[in-house]
């Protein structure tokens, strides 16, 4: 069983649905109190199932899951659950409850919270008496985030909080989340790698119900192969051919060539050679691997 310093733990946890789908296969991972972790994975990798197991809405087929030191649906779980806020994935909205009524429901369930303050903090004042289903996507998501934070929870479970939102609305929700996650243990499930990168410190990558990787983002970056981006006045094909002739693997991206070199060490010699060859290279930028690169690398491994 997890100790008090462990916020979330999965131990040998499997979940097989009634239709036979194996959503999680003997996964074991844990995150400490205070950590901000993103759970990444392609569709069907087991992210939402993990959240639902933590919510207590589903029961594991084998193994166990714990939340804030209490086994899910075991002794002490209800108290632990009262200390956690959840933003569900793309939930449907009530056509017969207003924003204020929905938040009042949440306040009653948690037994604490200030609805008026939440409405004000999340800029929902003009929409407090509108039915939830009548709000725009961005305001609906704001209402759900406000509900998750209403009780001032110690832990946040965020399941795809910005999926389906336009960039402006997603940016607004990010701002609220960035503020809300400060000082709180957070598990963020997302497809949006930029979102994960901006909001989290650690990453867990799931694939087909198994944990592929669980590392701090910084460590993951250290493993990443350095790359450089080169651009020349000549067509990119000419540049790519010259690079390939020197034995480099080239990836074309937006009219430039990406090559797996450590720019600080290898670029001077490479640039001299290319210029001598008559290729007018005007850009050579060291590339920091994005989470997307690291994710694709891990998933393809």
């Amino acid at each position: 069983m997890a100790d008090a310093a462990t916020a979330i733990a999965f131990d040998g946890t499997s979940k097989r649905y009634r239709n036979g789908t194996l959503a999680l296969s003997e996964v074991s991972w844990s995150i400490p109190v205070g950590a901000r972790v993103c759970l990444l994975g392609p569709n069907g990798s087991g992210k939402t199932t993990s959240i639902r197991l933590l919510e207590g809405a589903l029961a594991p087929t084998t193994g166990w899951v714990s939340l804030l030191g209490a086994e899910v649906n075991g002794p002490g779980y209800r108290e632990a659950r009262q200390r956690a806020g959840v933003v569900p994935q793309n939930a449907g909205m009530y056509t017969d409850l207003s924003t204020a009524e929905y938040l009042e429901l949440v306040r009653r369930v948690y037994g604490r919270g200030d609805v008026g303050r939440a409405i004000e903090s999340f800029g929902l004042g003009e929409h407090r008496d509108k039915r939830l289903a009548q709000l725009s996507g961005g305001f609906q998501r704001r209402a759900v985030v406000a509900a998750a934070l209403l009780s001032e929870p110690e832990l946040l479970l965020l399941d795809e909080p910005t999926v389906g939102l336009d960039p402006v609305a997603a940016h607004e929700v990010h701002d609220y989340l960035g503020e809300a996650m400060r000082g709180r243990t957070t598990l963020l499930c997302t497809h949006n790698l930029a979102e994960a990168e901006a909001l989290c410190d650690d990453v867990i990558i799931l694939r087909s119900g198994r944990v592929l990787l669980h590392e701090p983002l910084a460590t993951l970056r250290q493993h990443a192969k350095p790359r450089a981006r080169l651009a020349s006045r000549q067509p990119v094909d000419v540049l790519a051919a010259a690079l390939r002739a020197r034995g480099l693997a080239v990836t074309l991206q937006d009219g430039a060539a990406l090559v797996p070199i450590d720019a600080t060490k290898e670029a001077p010699d490479l640039l001299r050679a290319l210029l001598a060859q008559g290729i007018d290279v005007y850009e050579c930028t060291p590339m920091t691997a994005t989470l997307e690169d690291l994710f694709l690398e891990a998933v393809q491994r």
Binding site: E55, M93, Y94
Partner: protein
């Protein structure tokens, strides 16, 4: 199950139910006809019938050899049958809607994201349906029983004997609707399944009222309906569960 959580969810259910025109219309219109107009028409027809009921005294209905008084036939058979009929119809649509709607509009996600258990969610819905049924149905039943008492057709012992099958029918209908709704994929299928199940329950009602003699008829029928209700709830909560809605 925590009463505070059920109370909070019940607050939501009652608010939503009051705003649902279909549920309110079903809950008020059908009971008005079955539980109020039909029995009153029957009672006044009986009062006007006079000597034409002598035929009943000479040739009782099959299974009702002990019933030679038309007043007894109303109190022990016809009106209890209407009570079961109304009690079965009254909560089924509302129960189905309360559960299926959460799934169809995907608001179930919002509910399970709160610190409440599946049994607390279902309990609040069932209590809300029963409350609505009681508010709408019981006044009709009370008026009809009062008319029976005032006109001397029934005595005070008929009050529990008539309330029992109504309450049992409401409980049975709510429980069966819960089970069938959890099994069904959508609102229409759930309603169709409810309709299919309604017929055998009515046959059981008529058979029980015919087979059991004397004033115990309605109590035996009530007990059977309550057993059916308990079985349906047990199967729904233990084996069917809400989980299929989240898969």
């Amino acid at each position: 199950m925590r009463t505070s959580a059920v109370g909070a969810l019940l607050w939501k259910e009652l608010r939503q139910m009051g705003r649902n025109r279909t549920a309110m219309l079903t809950a008020t219109f059908l009971p008005f006809i079955i539980l109020f107009l039909a029995p009153l028409q029957l009672i006044f027809a009986f009062r006007a019938g006079g000597r034409s009921f002598d035929q009943l005294r000479q040739a009782p209905l099959p299974g009702f050899s002990d019933v030679t008084d038309p007043a007894q036939l109303i109190v022990q058979f016809v009106y209890p049958m209407l009570l079961v009929f109304g009690g079965m119809l009254l909560p089924s649509v509302t129960t189905t809607y309360a559960i299926v709607a959460e799934r169809e509009r995907r608001s179930l996600e919002l509910l399970v994201s709160l610190p409440v258990s599946v049994s607390e969610i279902l309990a609040s819905k069932l209590i809300a349906v029963l409350a609505l049924t009681a508010i709408v149905g019981l006044p009709y039943v009370a008026v009809v029983i009062a008319v029976l008492l005032v006109l001397g057709i029934a005595d005070a012992s008929a009050i529990p004997a008539l309330l029992a099958p109504f309450i049992a029918a409401v409980a049975c209908s709510t429980a069966i609707s819960l089970l069938l709704t959890l099994l069904a994929r959508d609102f229409r299928t759930a309603n169709n399944l409810n309709g299919v199940f309604f017929v055998p329950v009515l046959f059981v009602t008529i058979a029980t009222l015919s087979a059991v003699g004397g004033p115990a008829r309605t109590y035996v029928l009530s007990a059977m309906l309550l057993v059916l209700a308990a079985l349906a709830v047990l199967i729904a909560m233990r084996w069917v569960t809400f989980e299929r809605y989240l898969e």
